[in-house]
Structure formats: structure tokens, C-alpha cells
Amino acid sequence: MEERLVMEKLLGLIEPFMDDPGLLKKAGRATHLIDDLQLNSAWLVDLIIKIEDLFDIEITDDDADAIQTIGNAVDVIQLKIRDRNSAAA
């Protein structure tokens, strides 16, 4: 899946967790989910579960630990989608 599309879907998932959705307008790959978007660790887990559901992928504890920024999340999602597709092929 194209990075731009993954990013769009991801931002859509993040929005409901935000007290100030305006912060998302300036969000990019380097945006930190906790420091910049003020998600707490519990919401981060909720977000990861929503990502799993939307993209039909499974994210392990190690993958989850690697997700700190939007860019990290996009990379993990793309990697998992590739893994899933190659396993199915």
C-alpha cells in the first residue's frame, strides 16, 4: 500500500484520540505520538489495536515498542502488509 494512503488512514485513526485535532494538521513522519500529539501510553495501545483491525495485520510487542513517531507507525504497517501479502502469495 502506498505510503501516502497509509498515512491518511493512520491520521484518521489517531484523530479520535486527540484533545486538539488541530495538532494533526502539522503532523508528518517525524511527529512524536506521545510528545507532540499528547497521546498517553494507553491510547497508543488502543491505536495499535485499531491499526491491526483496519490493516488486517498483527503487531507484536517488539513492533509496538518501535512505534514512537508517525513515521515509525507507517513503516511498521507497510512492513506488516508486505509480510502478509508475501505469506499469502
Binding site: 501510553s41 494507553a42 495501545v45 491491526e52 498483527e58 503487531i59 507484536t60 515498542d65
Partner: protein, 247 residues
């Protein structure tokens, strides 16, 4: 997986704590007594806890509500008498305090080190958090008792706080399946909201409830389910606490 160096450091910390407890244990208990802290029906409570620990020596995850900076100390005071810890140092729970709270001066840093604390920076780097979680999992795998506060921080509302629940508690349970959960609800009679310290001469009420969280899910979903079951139990205990006091 925790490295050899970190494992040795934890074992050394435990050894040092055990040695120095003969000094700091009685001093801490005496200080609490002098400040006038009392735990209501403490003898009956300690008997109840002892019965649980006899049924299952460890590992135990003690999940408590969080209102003051010294909740862990009051919990340790309530769980066993000072000689109980001298005879069996394993009874003294490990704690995971916020690093910035206890490293304010050298005395509190040393005290916390000897009192089995594993520092954590809740808003720190994920790698740091991960190392701390690994240490806790290592300790639980060794059959130790660990106290944590699933609310993550002192509840700003003064009531069990679902909003900031940390799912790390669920991670311990998925990583150490033999671990049992004991929910503790602790509150001073004059504790209306959160504070740094309880009031002088405070009388605490404490109740325990053993919980077996369950989930059909795996991984992160199971961790979330466990954490939510624990926080829900704490909320129930809070309701009971206030119902018993007609509030």
C-alpha cells in the same frame, strides 16, 4: 530478555536491601508510627495477606490505587510486620517509582534503591521503558512480589482513574503466566484527593482482592483486557470503600 549485567545489578540491589533492611526497616516503621500513620485492622489484614502468600508464594503482582507519593511504603507497612520482612525479605514488594520523584536528593535515591525500587521514566524513551519492563518481568519470573499502580500516576480526581490506565500491567501477566494479581485499595480517612503525603496522624483503610484476569485474546489485546479488568476491580473496591463509610 534482560542482560547479564542488569540481572547482576538487580541481584546486588536485593542483597544490599536485605542487609540494610535491619537498619532502615525498623527506622521506616518507627517513622510511620511517630507520624501517627495507622492502618485500620492491620493485624487481620496481615493475616489475610499471609494466607494468600502461603497459598501461592509468588510471583505476585500487587495492583493498587494511587493517591500519594508514599502509597508503596504504607502498603509495605500494611502487608507484614517489620520482623516479617527481616525473616523473609522476599515479602517486601519491589516498586516502580517515577525516577524524577525519588531522585530529588541522594538520601531518597539511596533509600529507594535499598527498598527494592526499579526507577522508571514514564515519559522517557521507549527503550528505557522497555528495559524497566524487562527488569520487572525478570523479577516476577524469579517469584518476587511487585507493586504497581495501574493508573500510572496519582489520580488527579481522587478516584480510580480509567483515563490514564497503563497497559504495562497486562504485559506482565502475558509475560509471566504464573503471576497472580492482588488488587489493593488504600485510602486515608482524610484523603479527599491526591497529594504528596497523607495527613499527619492519618488512619488508612485497606482492602485486598485476589483477581484472575482472563481473556480469549492474545498479545496486545490480552494485555489491554487484563489491565481493564484490574482497574475495574479497583473501581469496585473504591465503591465498596465509600459504601461502607456511607459516603
Amino acid at each position: 530478555m534482560l542482560g547479564l549485567k542488569a540481572r547482576c545489578q538487580l541481584n546486588l540491589q536485593r542483597m544490599m536491601g536485605r542487609f540494610w533492611f535491619f537498619l532502615i526497616g525498623p527506622l521506616s516503621f518507627a517513622a510511620m508510627w511517630l507520624i501517627g500513620y495507622r492502618v485500620k485492622d492491620v493485624k487481620a489484614f496481615r493475616k489475610e495477606i499471609q494466607a494468600h502468600f502461603e497459598t501461592h508464594p509468588g510471583p505476585w503482582l500487587i495492583c493498587a490505587n494511587h493517591l500519594t507519593l508514599i502509597d508503596s511504603a504504607v502498603i509495605a507497612y500494611a502487608l507484614a510486620p517489620v520482623y516479617g520482612y527481616m525473616l523473609n525479605f522476599q515479602l517486601l514488594p519491589w516498586n516502580v517509582p517515577e525516577q524524577t520523584n525519588f531522585q530529588r536528593n541522594i538520601f531518597s535515591a539511596v533509600f529507594c534503591y535499598l527498598a527494592k525500587c526499579v526507577p522508571i521514566r514514564r515519559r522517557g524513551e521507549r527503550e528505557q521503558l522497555r528495559r524497566c519492563l524487562d527488569k520487572c518481568i525478570y523479577l516476577l519470573n524469579k517469584g518476587e512480589i511487585l507493586t504497581i499502580f495501574p493508573e500510572g500516576t496519582r489520580s488527579r480526581s481522587g478516584r480510580v482513574d480509567f483515563r490514564n490506565v497503563t497497559y504495562g500491567v497486562g504485559r506482565f501477566l502475558t509475560s509471566v503466566p504464573s503471576c497472580r494479581v492482588m488488587c489493593l485499595y488504600l485510602r486515608g480517612e482524610r484523603q479527599d484527593s491526591y497529594s504528596n503525603f497523607p495527613h499527619w496522624g492519618e488512619c488508612f483503610h485497606i482492602q485486598a482482592s485476589v483477581l484472575t484476569p482472563s481473556s480469549d485474546d492474545k498479545g496486545i489485546r490480552a494485555q489491554r483486557a487484563y489491565a481493564l479488568q484490574i482497574i475495574a476491580r479497583l473501581a469496585e473496591m473504591e465503591q465498596q470503600h465509600f459504601a461502607l463509610r456511607g459516603q
